[in-house]
Symmetry: C2
């Protein structure tokens, strides 16, 4: 079997923990694995790593690749040059499988940012779906609704098949009364966006219902790298797989998802899946409370002290604080949009940015300078690089550094410092067993991450 | 006339804006003047600067002196070596006036952290009080209660004098029903802690009612400096002026305060005095709201985004976030106490600390190091000093620095750096017209503000 992980996502719903450049699927919420990594592991149960293809916007490529490589380096990530919704992303990935002799296989397509804990139940559902897929059905996994949610699409089933149901129709997000009637009727399911079908069947449906997409798939060439050509992709319509295929095809069947499921689509749903203390609170980090109930308070860094409030969400990150009413947490999106209009960096980036070699935190900046703390993990090194517009000054805080500057090597211990002049070729390396922490002071007339020329990079970023 | 400003204050009620080391009177809330400075200016209307004596705990001495010197360098600050409540502080200051030939003058005693905007009304009250004080009364300024507050003490008046009233008794903080009955009766006033009397009259009352305090006043010697001897002060009982004198004396009169008055004793009272927007909100700093009403949201540094909440207080500072219900804001004290038990620095210090020469912000720290950004104001210099346990490394970010190191001078521009070895005598100076900003990296086996030997200091801190 093959699998596709859809890893788009704008990062607005769980802001300020998620950001445009670090969306939900990259975050870990309860252990050291991100939602993306958990999804990969779930699929890896029945699909080998090299047959799990993650498709994502090129701007998230590095971070996605970094996370998946930690699990299995034979994973495949296809980069979309721009956002075009799910149908073009899926079509291109199907074409990739076809070009790699997988045209007759069954493919399972899943979002990257849903939480499913019960692997057994999920596996049973996949086995059931596979049978129908092999018979030529496009199988959607329906989630039995537990309450009249107005934020999801629904799927109406018709007559039962041997396993699963024939689908009558997909319906859009209903109002509350309609959602209630759906639940009462008993034959409506939530559309969780999980699908299964033979690759050839899906491509046939693209040919039939989306010829505009289908006709240009043949010009894709994945033999060199896994990047989709900009011009080809740009010419495709932006359309979801639901609109493009699912709502039109007559081959749709539904199997009931036999596991738990949560799309973590809001802070409230995040709160819902977490264990509560005796006051009904979920408290994370340096949190102090007094007479607080049924609330979710998350501190990433600083002390958060709360008294006499109920049913609130309060999230502290290094550079943004968000507070809202528990049952209105979907409105975080509105705050996010307002901030985006103000071009606030807090919608885009975290203060701490992860890189293949470690991470850095911007501490402060002013006219002509920027200071960072940089952590280089053991046995890692930054690329050999130079900057046209800034000099750098490094001071070692913890660990030991090997610095390459203009082909000379320097060994620096805690307390030592070094100047990296404008245009000098340099590299910061940590060949040792302990983390290396330094302070970097950048100074120049133009200070930006894009002022970088890479000469050599062990992570393939030249 | 003489004046005494009582500048104690624990910093718990307006936490996290106020701290143990930076209490409410040092904060400015609406312009560039702190409550202490506003108090000084109010008194300076009728008392010359050298006759306004501020009495404070020695740990706040530097900050108080720094703020008052900006207004008039002839001000006097008396430092208590430890906290002993208001009666000993007042008695010692009365003794200071007596020793300086002011024994027969009238003194006005005021807290340092109340907000009064109507100077004319205050002046009229002082003139009225002065008459009674000259007749031998101890005059307390009563505040006409506007609602049944249970957090203040009350003063019950008896028969009217020519101006003001004879006082029957002082009463403790009442419960709500009692407070209501006080207001209905019409002859109860809030005790705002503002007093006036002849110095000799007050000293007589100390002699009569607090002989333990009175008998040792004579051993105080203010001829060298304005610090109270530790052993003398330590032997005094810890008692408030209300318990010590006001509730016992038969010479008490009351004049009605003819100005506005707010003790800013809680975040709610702070909200009350601020102008509101059309949603009833007071929003300060980088704040974004959506469907928020009657709330006070204060951002000192980072983005604070709030949706769908009413009647809340949310305060963000560099290292602590506090949220509470508007009408329960007095419970901030409980949060503060809980944090204090955890020995959290956030109850004591701000991340940014003001010094006579400028200010510094601690950025991060780890095993054996601490990094700061330091701003030296134009024409200012740090003391000539050395450290026994740490070396320092300075990098200039903005402006120009004059560095003295072991009797040599170094001129540093933005981008330049210098090492200050262990035990080296050094000084950082800014003889120029622009702010000087540097990064300081401290490294050593023991890193603390008390590892300092000062050789020369233009602010008298040797």
């Amino acid at each position: 079997m093959k699998s596709i992980i859809l890893a788009g996502g704008s990062g607005s719903r769980l802001w300020p923990l998620s950001r445009e450049m670090y969306p939900k699927q990259l975050l870990n919420f309860d252990d050291n694995l991100s939602l993306l990594q958990k999804t990969f592991i779930r699929l890896n149960n029945f699909t080998q790593a090299s047959d799990i293809v993650t498709v994502t916007n090129v701007k998230h490529y590095q971070d996605i690749k970094l996370q998946l490589n930690k699990l299995d380096k034979s994973n495949v990530v296809i980069a979309e040059p721009l956002g075009k919704n799910t149908a073009p992303a899926i079509a291109c990935t199907l074409e990739y499988f076809k070009q790699n002799d997988g045209g007759d296989d069954v493919v399972l397509i899943v979002p990257s940012d849903h939480l499913i804990k019960d692997f057994d139940g999920f596996n049973r559902t996949v086995l059931e779906g596979e049978k129908l897929a092999k018979e030529g059905y496009i199988v959607t996994f329906g989630i039995k609704p537990s309450y009249p949610e107005t934020g999801y699409g629904y799927i109406k089933t018709l007559k039962p098949l041997q396993t699963g149901y024939k689908v009558e129709k997909f319906v859009e997000k209903p109002d509350y009364e309609t959602a209630k009637s759906y639940i009462e009727s008993g034959n409506y399911y939530w559309n969780g966006g999980i699908f299964m079908a033979k690759i050839s069947v899906l491509l046939d449906e693209f040919k039939k219902y989306q010829p505009e997409i289908f006709k240009i798939l043949g010009s894709l060439d994945f033999s060199k790298d896994k990047k989709i050509n900009y011009n080809i992709y740009e010419s495709m319509p932006s359309i979801s797989i639901d609109y493009a295929i699912m709502e039109k095809s007559e081959k749709i069947a539904l199997v009931k998802l036999q596991s738990d499921w949560n799309d973590l689509g809001s802070w409230q749903s995040f709160y819902d899946v977490k264990p509560k203390d005796s006051d009904g609170n979920v408290l994370t980090g340096k949190v102090i409370t007094e007479n607080v109930h049924n609330s979710f308070i998350y501190s990433q860094k600083e002390v958060v002290a709360v008294s006499d409030l109920d049913n609130i969400i309060l999230v502290e990150t290094e550079d943004a604080i968000m507070a809202c009413k528990m049952d209105k947490s979907q409105n975080v999106k509105k705050l996010y949009e307002k901030l985006k209009l103000k071009e606030s960096d807090t919608t885009k980036l975290h203060k701490t940015v992860f890189r293949p070699w470690g991470y850095y935190t911007c501490m402060n900046s002013g006219e002509g300078y920027l200071t960072k703390t940089i952590c280089v993990l053991p046995k890692q090194k930054l690329s050999i690089q130079s900057h046209n517009h800034r000099s750098e000054h490094w001071v070692v805080l913890e660990g030991k550094a090997l610095v390459i500057k203009e082909d000379k090597e320097y060994n620096l211990n805690a307390g030592d410092s070094i100047d990296i002049p404008l245009k000098a070729k340099h590299s910061l390396q940590n060949p040792y067993d302990e983390d290396l922490k330094i302070i970097e002071i950048q100074q120049g007339d133009y200070i930006s991450e894009d002022d970088i020329i890479r000469y050599e990079d062990c992570y393939g970023r030249v």
